[in-house]
Assembly symmetry: C2
């Protein structure tokens, strides 16, 4: 992709993101009770990248559909994503998200539970605004993903007490918790955009692999990012003993004392902040960061392969989005 | 209604309730992760009356439709109701429901939030099983009610800190929190059962007024029920300072020291168990229990009036259900 194209898509992305943000804010403005809807809209003000709505829009574009056709679906997927963030943050007892207080810390537990429920209810209301004859189909696709997201969160919770989680278990979990949602975004965009069956199937897989890559990159950033940029404590996953791709890969490969230390972290359900550096050293010794990068690239490549059935001009926004998301410079 | 008819409908009710219970249990049996779905199905084992599914079934029957046509909708409304119970119990910090531990006490907070979310997701999946061309319409009706239930809960939460709640505010709140759901049940039953417009509108109103009557009766039972039968601490609403129909009516009518005591209860956000009898005495002095009975009867009568457009044989199950629910002996 040449620089001119990339700049062009970048401004398209920023423009559409701005529109999505405005729509999200307007959605709650006049709704009452204010206590409910102002807390629900709080999570939407955190300056997220709006990746999921953008997957909907760009998938529609990739099959020759207009943004207009999928605008409600784009809003709905962001609301579903926000619902899951709000409830997950309670379950994870997280204080901050993107440098802002999480909803249950900014308000309180009850408000956060109800705000999450509301976000989901409004998501369905948005989907129902679709006047084409495809509303039932899109609600089917959406509901299937919602169920998977809940199940994924269930498996993730199970992992907290399960001492024998394998990389395969992990992949099964993120397929539901993360990839089902990105897959659904592309599926919705392709269906509502009027794609052919082959295009729809390819875009679904594109969404799934992007989701895998994205989640594993999230795991990597926890230990490899610059602190302020990421808006979370560095090594937070290690501190909480979270079974990330990196930790599970390290467990697979480590021997001797390293293995003992990793098993101790699992057994103790985490470690103290001062030990993060020790575990990062193990990762470095075992080449875990490179192996993780490789896994991200493998999934990104698989995602991009799916786009072969599309013409260059049609797929360029999705290719750009994949590159943009996953910080690839090639 | 003669005794023979009543016995006949009673066994129909019990038979259908049993079927609903079996379907609810089977729904979760094979689903994984087990941790998620066994906790979700826990709330469905509490031996509820299944009023809401029954409103769906009997409304369909009232317009000449079959139970078969609305069976998925009947399951969906019970799942929505259960979802709201699970999340509301967390918000109310309730320990017990129907003599059983609430879900977040039996398991934990995270499990209860996720189980609630799951119940709602499976409700939509059930609605989507409807193979008629009315699935979109029924999802619209369902979603509208879901939004109202969330808003009603929001208003109810606001009432906790609002010192100036009027009877009108209270009615506005229960219209959303309780009556929107019973209205939706009858609406779904009537629409999917193939009712005519006039029948549908009447049944919606029947559902709404039944919901009003039912909620106000719930408020009454808190102070007037036999303890074990009700499965809650008697006077629990007073202890928590809940702005029920009874408390708000008493506030309207009380003077002098009674008024002072009622205002103190509001200000203190509740009272101790030993004071319940004192407040019950105020209610008795002011005739609040009779006034509440009157309000329940007024709403029940308004509900039954709506059934005038139906033939006697068609409406008898709904008439029986209203009587049965509201313990009327006439």
């Amino acid at each position: 992709m040449n620089d001119q194209n990339s700049t062009h898509i970048n401004s398209l992305y920023e423009r559409e993101k701005q529109k999505i943000n405005t729509q999200l804010q307007n959605l709650f403005k006049k709704k009452r009770p204010k206590s409910l809807y102002s807390s629900a809209s709080y999570i939407l003000k955190n300056g997220g990248k709006r990746i999921r709505p953008m997957l909907v829009l760009f998938s529609a574009k990739a099959v020759g559909g207009s943004f207009e056709k999928v605008k409600h679906a784009a809003i709905a997927v962001e609301l579903l994503h926000s619902f899951s963030l709000v409830h997950d943050d309670i379950m994870d007892n997280a204080d901050k998200r993107r440098n802002l207080l999480t909803l249950h810390k900014k308000y309180d537990l009850s408000t956060a539970i109800l705000a999450g429920d509301s976000l989901l209810s409004i998501a369905y209301q948005e989907l129902l605004k679709d006047l084409s004859n495809k509303a039932k189909t899109s609600i089917e696709i959406f509901t299937k993903a919602l169920i998977e997201v809940c199940e994924g969160q269930g498996y993730d919770k199970d992992f907290e007490t399960n001492k024998n989680v394998s990389i395969a278990d992990y992949k099964f979990m993120i397929k539901k918790k993360t990839a089902a949602l990105t897959e659904m975004c592309c599926h919705l965009g392709a269906i509502l955009g009027g794609g052919k069956e082959e295009q729809i199937n390819s875009l679904k897989l594109f969404g799934r692999y992007i989701g895998f890559a994205f989640q594993i990159r999230d795991d990597l950033l926890d230990i490899a990012a610059e602190e302020n940029k990421f808006g979370k404590v560095l090594g937070g996953d290690l501190i909480e003993g979270k079974k990330t791709f990196l930790l599970l890969k390290a467990l697979e490969l480590a021997k001797g004392n390293d293995k003992k230390l990793l098993i101790k972290l699992i057994k103790d359900k985490g470690t103290s902040t001062k030990n993060v550096i020790k575990y990062k050293d193990i990762y470095l010794r075992l080449g875990i960061l490179e192996l993780t990068e490789k896994e991200i690239k493998r999934n990104t490549d698989k995602a991009l392969e799916q786009l072969n059935c599309l013409k260059d001009r049609e797929k360029e926004t999705l290719v750009w989005l994949a590159d943009h998301l996953l910080n690839r410079n090639n």
